[in-house]
């Protein structure tokens, strides 16, 4: 296991931050966990999706009569005949951002877009049938890059969006011009940030079963409630008549809370054919027809004083939005906000332009716009420090957020451990001493959100809810709508419940991933569940515990001025812990006194008075030691340390796993996971050509955890696991900068780019020499 150190441990708990293993770990490692991929219903059909070979084309005619003649084929659906043609999108509150028909009626906008779906008695027959569906297209001119798409004469991808500009976002505080005036030094750079595939182990998959006016869907996703609501919307059903079951999800990473082709097409087929229909995406389909991290062109202008005090920053971003909006509407905002982090700017201005192109749509992905923001910001800051001859850590430190700081008009920082993060990384670098000549260290700071506040989904429900029920034998059933997708949320909620109720972890059974059985919750995205659902769970458990303690007062006959509590299944007087009764006995008595009703507690959470962005922010600084081969440009990660403030860790084993996973994804974004397109076609939709770091090549990823206390979080907890996707690409870039003095303005950083930059640097130096002569 990687080294894990805690700086300032400040709390004593019975369950929180103890050695708790994943509550569903055994089911998973023994293969007994039922993922959607495993679901098989009686009389189930298999569906396959016909996809567009064109990046931009009108659908003139779809003739599937030959497919229906194929033995074993049961039915075909198309946008025109079988859907309501409703345009949908996850930004439900804004109709113009609901721009996607999963089965389009008249036009396709990217290669891989669904055109028709077929159901057959076997998957093989369904796939074969795709060859027998004849589609007449009128191919339209297409455009693939944002800077081409905003040109006046560019093809129009969506009607009414001038210059293909899908969304603009503006963030500003302070007098930006005046703040630039104060600066002694101004630097500007352009950057190009790549896309990235979510690459979940479980590809998009759904099994839909429509019967008697009700629809049940097994689906691999991050938010069963969102999927329930979105499916009800596109099928014109009541939300309550749609049940989404997602007991186990094989990874999400931000790519699985919108409608996808698997859920939509299987449901439409099932409704038409009155049989269950299963659709499993192949790996290639998952690459070409899900969504991806948003590629961005970043312009950054920064003004600082000679002593390194930050004055002003201005950023402009053009994103390759691809064919549809998805969660890109959030990413374009968050990248602009987190580009300011974790620093104080007197004047800050951001303008983001999300541009439609005829490529795979881009959307949210772990880090949610911030990996791009940090790749650009943290490298430019390093260059500024070098330009001014300042220590890059001390320059960062003096400009950083602190507890109580207000990001003007945006957020108040209630907890912040970044200052100690600088100390830890400084120590780490110092302890390393002199490095071999081919190695260098790069650092990068960042901060991240703990759940979003802005209600673009327009939910009428509280953001998180929990129901806890205590049985006669003291076992506890916890029902939550937060989604377990491998990140360990069920374990986190079980820990919070056990801690709050004063019972053991094995007393808690967590039910999640079923919209019929669990309360509505916005689900697993934006690092929201530990804080938001955690608060709801804590509240529900406090409610239940209060009911138990009321009986304890009566039963024990004690003076009402005493405080009672339960710890380790022992209900007792806080001041005199030896006086008490067994939790199990208390439950039995309390239940009898309630006329046989089980003890039930309810809790909920919706952020209030926390601005429009997030209730809390995490902070971190990462150092990465990198080896670079000067002759080949090959990058190798040698070592790393992340100093990390996530408030009070709830489950440190889970935390370590999350940070390791985030590092691997962030490293991939830094130097491996490129997604080249040619004429709108993804050139590496497979795991031979799409490069992801492997376990054997991961460097040590030690963590120094700075324990702070976040007042808004349950027991002081805040974000962990997503934020760490943000710093690594810049840290790698900064290591290359320190090794060779070259500036990497595009990611992923490929060997060829390094050699090219080295060559240019040499040529410049030679020119300089010539000039001197």
């Amino acid at each position: 296991m990687n080294k894990y150190t805690v700086i300032n441990p400040h709390s004593e708990f019975k369950v929180i931050n103890t050695h708790v293993h994943n509550v569903d770990g055994v089911a998973k490692v023994t293969g007994r966990a039922t993922y959607t991929f495993d679901v098989k219903l009686p009389n189930m059909l298999y569906g396959k999706i016909l996809r567009s070979p064109h990046p931009h084309a009108k659908i003139l005619k779809i003739d599937y009569s030959r497919a229906l003649e194929l033995p074993g084929v049961v039915g075909v659906v198309t946008g025109k005949e079988d859907t309501l043609g409703i345009k949908q999108g996850i930004w439900r509150r804004y109709k113009d951002l609901c721009d996607e028909q999963i089965l389009p009626v008249d036009k396709v906008r990217y290669i891989g877009e669904p055109v028709a779906a077929v159901a057959a008695i076997t998957e093989e027959i369904a796939e074969k049938a795709l060859d027998y569906i004849d589609v007449d297209y009128e191919v339209l001119p297409a455009v693939f890059e944002p800077m081409d798409a905003i040109k006046k004469d560019a093809p129009e991808i969506h009607e009414g969006f001038e210059r293909n500009i899908n969304i603009t976002r503006h963030i500003e505080w302070g007098d930006v011009e005046a703040a630039f005036e104060e600066a002694d030094y101004i630097r500007e750079d352009w950057f190009k940030c790549g896309g990235q595939a979510h690459m979940c182990m479980e590809t998009r998959v759904a099994v839909s079963s429509y019967t008697d006016g009700k629809l049940t869907i097994y689906h691999s996703n991050q938010s069963p409630y969102y999927l329930q609501a979105l499916m009800a919307g596109v099928l014109d059903m009541r939300e309550g008549d749609v049940r989404v079951i997602s007991t186990y999800t094989g990874g999400g990473f931000g790519g699985k809370f919108e409608l996808d082709g698997a859920i939509f097409c299987s449901a439409v087929l099932s409704r038409k054919l009155h049989k269950p229909v299963k659709i499993v995406y192949t790996r290639e389909e998952d690459f070409i027809a899900s969504k991806r991290r948003t590629p961005m062109l970043y312009y950054v202008r920064t003004g600082v004083k000679k002593d390194g005090t930050f004055c002003a920053r201005e950023a402009k971003v053009f994103t390759n939005g691809g064919a549809y909006t998805g969660m890109g509407a959030t990413a374009i905002y968050l990248t602009g906000f987190f580009h300011s982090f974790p620093y104080r700017w007197k004047g800050y201005r951001y303008d983001g332009y999300r541009v439609y192109t005829n490529t795979l749509p881009s959307t949210s992905m772990r880090g949610f716009g911030a990996p791009q923001a940090m790749f650009t910001s943290e490298q430019q800051i390093e260059w500024i420090a070098a330009d001014l001859g300042l220590d890059p850590i001390e320059m960062r430190r003096k400009n950083s957020h602190y507890e109580g700081y207000e990001v003007p008009g945006q957020a108040t920082i209630a907890s912040c451990g970044i200052d100690q993060c600088y100390d830890e990384i400084q120590k780490w670098i110092k302890d390393k001493g002199k490095l071999p000549a081919n190695r260098a260290i790069g650092i990068s700071a960042c901060g991240f959100m703990t759940g979003g506040i802005f209600n673009w989904f327009d939910t009428p429900y509280s953001f998180s809810s929990a129901v806890v029920t205590i049985n006669y034998d003291g076992t506890v059933e916890l029902r939550v709508g937060c989604q377990e997708l491998g990140q360990g949320s069920n374990t986190t909620m079980a820990i919070i419940a056990a801690e709050t109720l004063g019972v053991k972890i094995e007393d808690i059974k967590v039910y999640s991933g079923d919209t019929d059985q669990c309360p509505a919750d916005l689900g697993a995205w934006g690092s929201r569940q530990t804080l938001m659902t955690g608060n709801a769970v804590k509240m529900a458990c406090e409610d239940a515990k209060k009911q138990l303690l009321e009986f304890a007062y009566a039963e024990m006959g004690i003076n009402i001025v005493y405080d009672l509590d339960i710890k380790d299944r022992w209900a007792h007087i806080v001041a005199r812990p030896e006086r008490g009764m067994k939790y199990e006995d208390l439950v039995k008595k309390a239940l009898r006194a309630k006329d046989g009703q089980r003890i039930m507690g309810r809790g909920y959470y919706t952020p209030h008075r926390k601005g429009m962005i997030s209730p809390a922010y995490s902070y971190m600084l990462q150092g990465v030691e990198v080896e670079i081969d000067e002759e080949t440009g090959k990058i190798k990660l040698i070592d790393s340390l992340t100093a990390h403030d996530c408030g009070q860790p709830i489950n440190h084993l889970g935390l370590i796993g999350q940070l390791e996973g985030a590092f691997s994804m962030a490293a991939g974004y830094g130097y491996l996971e490129y997604m080249p397109f040619e004429d709108g076609k993804l050139m590496n939709p497979n795991l031979v050509d799409y490069k992801m770091i492997r376990a054997t090549e991961m460097p040590p990823t030690a963590v120094a955890e700075i324990d702070t206390y976040e007042p808004e979080g349950p027991y002081g907890a805040k974000e962990a696991g997503e934020g760490l996707t943000n710093p690594t690409a810049a840290a790698i870039g900064n290591a290359i900068f320190h090794r060779f003095g070259i500036q990497m303005k595009e990611n992923p950083i490929k060997p060829e780019m390094i050699l090219k930059a080295l060559k240019e640097k040499k040529e410049k130096e030679q020119e300089k020499k010539k000039g001197k002569k």
């Binding site: 998957e123 093989e124 796939e127 192949t282 002759e631 080949t632 090959k634 990058i635 130097y671 491996l672 490129y674 080249p676 050139m683 590496n684 497979n686 031979v688 050509d689 490069k691 770091i693 492997r694 054997t696 090549e697 490929k750 060997p751 060829e752 050699l755």
Partner: protein
């Protein structure tokens, strides 16, 4: 999705020859690590698969001080990697196998399957060619042996005649004062090589270069020797500048194809660097 096929499973080599001769549109499968990928991508859909995995006659590693090394075609990569006799006598083979894909792949994939697949990016062929290996092939009509460097004839095409299987790889005993080294260039250590270079150097008693071989991987349609660079070295007193010159020749005498992973120019450059480095490494070993 993999198309349906008829599955043939001979128990002996004799049965295999007979079945293979009898069925048209038949592909040989053993570990399946190359074939299943192209079948899954729908690039080929053979009517018959002949599974030779259970033919124990072809699963062996034998070493003789005079005859050298013989590896049966169905021997898995992992067995070669873990073989003590190979590690002792041909350390370059062990090192090559150690970086050939993942352990899971090495536990299934076989040496015969790898060579018969004839992917120019394959790791074993360049190394084996620098070691002057031969390959034994055969079918119902009989057996024949040829230098491995003649075996690959084009992208994914070999000198195998209809009805012939790969039977054995033969590696002669290395001459004294010989060193050999192999390195592929990739982004991830265990990945396929974007390009690769293998080199061997044999020194005379007087320290001059008696023999040298340079073989490039994924630098054209087949593993290719850089004879012009080999000739440059033979008979000379070896030194760094000669290796650099050999590297330059290697970067010229190749036909790498650009793709999303690297441009042609970059590939040529890397081939030059790797050639230089592998010669240096082989030379150090030969001297030791």
């Amino acid at each position: 999705m993999i198309n349906d096929f008829n599955y043939l499973r001979p128990g002996t080599l004799k049965e295999a020859f007979a079945m293979y001769a009898e069925h048209d549109d038949c592909k040989v499968i053993c570990g399946g690590q190359s074939l299943l990928i192209v079948m899954r991508q729908g690039m080929i859909s053979p009517e018959y698969l002949l599974d030779i995995k259970s033919i124990k006659e072809l699963d062996y590693i034998k070493f003789d001080k005079k005859e050298g090394l013989r590896i049966g075609a169905t021997t898995i990569h992992r067995a070669i990697e873990k073989s003590d006799v190979i590690k002792k006598n041909y350390p370059v083979l062990t090192a090559m196998e150690n970086k050939l894909a993942s352990v899971q792949v090495r536990n299934w994939g076989t040496i015969g399957g790898n060579l018969a697949h004839a992917d120019p990016a394959g790791d074993p062929a360049p190394v084996l060619i620098t070691l002057k290996a031969n390959i034994k092939v055969g079918g119902a009509a009989g057996e024949r042996t040829m230098p491995l460097e003649d075996f690959s004839v084009d992208y994914f095409e070999t000198a195998l005649n209809k009805g012939e299987l790969v039977l054995e790889v033969q590696v002669p005993v290395s001459e004294p004062k010989t060193g050999a080294a192999y390195q592929k260039f990739n982004l991830l250590e265990s990945d396929m090589g974007i390009v690769a270079a293998a080199a061997s150097v044999t020194l005379n008693g007087n320290g001059k270069c008696k023999d040298a071989r340079i073989v490039l991987g994924n630098a054209g349609s087949t593993p290719r020797r850089v004879k012009r660079a080999e000739e440059l070295l033979i008979g000379k007193t070896l030194k760094e500048s000669l290796f650099a010159e050999a590297g330059k020749i290697a970067s010229e005498d190749c036909e790498p194809v650009a793709d999303i992973h690297a441009s042609e120019e970059h590939r040529r450059h890397i081939l030059g660097v790797l050639t230089k480095r592998m010669l240096q490494k082989a030379f150090e070993q030969a001297k030791a």
